[in-house]
């Protein structure tokens, strides 16, 4: 029923839009069109599954400004020296050549939901029947006093992987002996909940080898964080005395920075630092807001198919979505993308739509061969994506299990990147 209604609506809308938006769908013997904005774990996966499973029945366009995608997941391992930058870089050639996806390297600057078109910075206008937004995150303005994007060279966020990650790694390498690395951790919800703390571990790993009297301070607005006991035990075991985590109770949320002087002030106490990694509060990637599908900082979606509450023909995946219990992770975005692709294909071609199943696992590396993980399965309810079952690594696990967990994370990395990019 839903299928018929949507096809009817889609056709009707296109007809109403007349010449400005060429007619769509089978009525005019044209293929259905899906535009995907954002080529990360959500968008690349959705595009690939739509193209692969529809076997040419759907015309898929993927809009992604970067020619090389650097995954945020594993970018901390690059900081720690466990991976090269090239190891986390991926291109879109296979998606174009083997899956027939129209890959457009441009910025999407506007979405007109009435005419069902996307406008690109280069001027092109792309009509769609279904629009999938997977734009990741942007930063909330003025979230950290004294910091703005203009200061991202002095105080990098490195929370979108690539040149920012390279910059932070170079700054860590140049720290003077006994110098201080500061991090401003973000408030919930944010991309990759264990990410800042895995990063602290990786910075500590580098300092331990090259600058063992170096210090790390973390100003955190939260009273607790993902895998907290695992990380704190790991820091004590591997990097004793090096990490000073200042949580909410000790004023970690009362923070300002001065990028010109390279100072950070935590609860009134100013400290001169050598590197300052500011990870501000986050919101959905801007195109979601431009499309008018956000409510506050994020885009509320229906758990069943990731369609937005605002528009049944616009879907939001991954970090930008407000879906319920899943963390904002690459794994989660990839999982949501497959549910979404199945539903979108069903709506456009009449293929069978299977019940949604979601899952997530986040691995983190604390030190060489000391990997930990947390994971859960989820189901769609009327209200949200709801957690069903979960697990977390235990403190005090033996080294063989921790090593196996790290090796498993490497296996997962090759698995998910193959699942995204073919």
């Amino acid at each position: 029923m839903k299928l018929n209604r949507r096809i009817f609506l889609g056709t009707g809308a296109a007809a109403a839009a007349s010449l400005s938006a060429p007619a769509v769908l089978a009525s005019n013997h044209e293929k259905a069109r899906v535009v995907v904005i954002g080529g990360g774990a959500g968008g690349a996966t959705a595009a690939r599954y739509l193209a692969k499973d529809s076997k040419g029945e759907i015309n898929v366009t993927l809009v992604e400004p970067s020619r090389t995608y650097f995954s945020c997941f594993f970018s901390n391992l690059y900081l720690g020296g466990f991976k090269e930058l090239a190891d986390i870089g991926h291109t879109y050639g296979t998606l174009a050549a083997e899956y027939g996806i129209n890959v457009v390297h441009d910025w999407a600057v506007d979405v007109d939901r009435d005419s069902k078109t996307v406008t690109l910075a280069g001027g092109a206008v792309l009509p769609y029947d279904k629009l999938i937004l997977s734009p990741g995150i942007d930063f909330v303005d003025d979230a950290v006093e004294g910091w703005s994007l203009a200061a991202q060279n002095a105080m990098p966020h490195s929370y979108k992987a690539g040149s920012q990650t390279e910059l932070l790694k170079a700054q860590i390498a140049e720290m003077p002996e006994g110098g201080t690395f500061a991090m401003v951790a973000p408030p919930n919800p944010f991309r990759c909940p264990p990410g800042p703390y895995e990063r602290v571990s990786m910075v500590a790993h580098v300092l331990k080898a090259n600058n063992p009297t170096g210090k790390i301070i973390v100003a955190d607005p939260k009273p607790k964080f993902s895998k907290m006991a695992l990380f704190q035990n790991g820091w004590n075991d591997h990097y004793p005395g090096m990490v000073d985590w200042i949580g909410e109770d000790f004023g970690g949320g009362n923070v300002s920075v001065n990028p010109d002087d390279m100072t950070i002030t935590i609860d009134g106490e100013e400290t001169k630092v050598d590197v300052c990694n500011v990870i501000p509060a986050q919101k959905a990637g801007r195109i979601a807001e431009i499309a008018g599908v956000t409510d506050g900082n994020w885009a509320p979606v229906n758990a069943e198919d990731m369609s937005t509450k605002a528009d049944p023909d616009v879907y939001v995946l991954g970090d930008a979505s407000q879906q319920g219990d899943m963390p904002k992770s690459g794994f989660a975005a990839n999982s949501q993308a497959k549910v979404c692709a199945n539903a979108v294909r069903g709506a456009l071609t009449g293929s069978k739509v299977f019940p949604p199943k979601f899952s997530n696992t986040c691995w983190s590396l604390i030190a060489t061969n000391d990997g930990v993980k947390v994971g859960a399965t989820y189901e769609a309810t009327d209200e949200k994506i709801a957690k069903v079952d979960g697990f977390i690594s235990q403190t005090g696990e033996d080294s063989a299990l921790r090593k196996a967990t790290y090796e498993e994370s490497e296996g997962w990395y090759t698995g998910i990147t193959s699942d995204m990019f073919g």
């Binding site: 899952s359 994971g375 399965t377 697990f391 299990l401 196996a404 498993e408 296996g411 998910i416």
Partner: protein, 234 residues
Amino acid sequence: MKNKLGALCLGLAVLLPGLTLAAEIGDTERGERLYGKCKGCHQVGANAVDRIGPHLNGIFMRRAAAHEGFAYSKAMVRAGADGLVWDAETLDAYIENPRALVSRTRMSFRGMKDAQDRADLLAYLRTFSDNPANIPEAAPTALPTDHDLDPEILALDGDPEYGEYLASECLTCHKSDGSSDGIPSITHWPTEDFVVAMHAYKRKLRPHPVMQMMAGRLSNEEIAALAAYFKDLE
């Protein structure tokens, strides 16, 4: 699983001191005769050494692949790293169908199907574990259950189209091309092996927490669908 079982075991050991454990499992004398099937490869007793398989003294509560000096298969090493510990329950599952518990084990034994045979064999093996009276034992493992999967479950015909959709969840980690760095390959498995292995995770006999969680919410039909899909994946 190890921790949970461990905690449970300790609790029982306190509650029920002095259990004659080997005898609780089965008939040691009958087990000694059944052990004839094993002794071509495995030795036990005072002068036991490793042969084709490792010697089995002290096997109870030893982690899989933990006996030093023996060259275990990659699959057994991985099972040990994942946390597989040999107790009456896991040994019972392994002896019943070795590949159900450790897919690519080198132990070329087709399995002992009779539950009482396995119980007796384990009772005999138990007498060669160090200080058996002190070995913690959970109640369910003292009397091994029959792990035969319901033949109806094995006979289910999976829907490969549904399997393809469900498989998309597996393929976040497992690679469709069958490569196996860090994460095992799951393509081209015989259907029965696949189904038995997934049910072993579902019942938390196999130790891996992600797989226990993933398999735990799959229905019998869904496991059959996945088996059907991965069997023929190009």
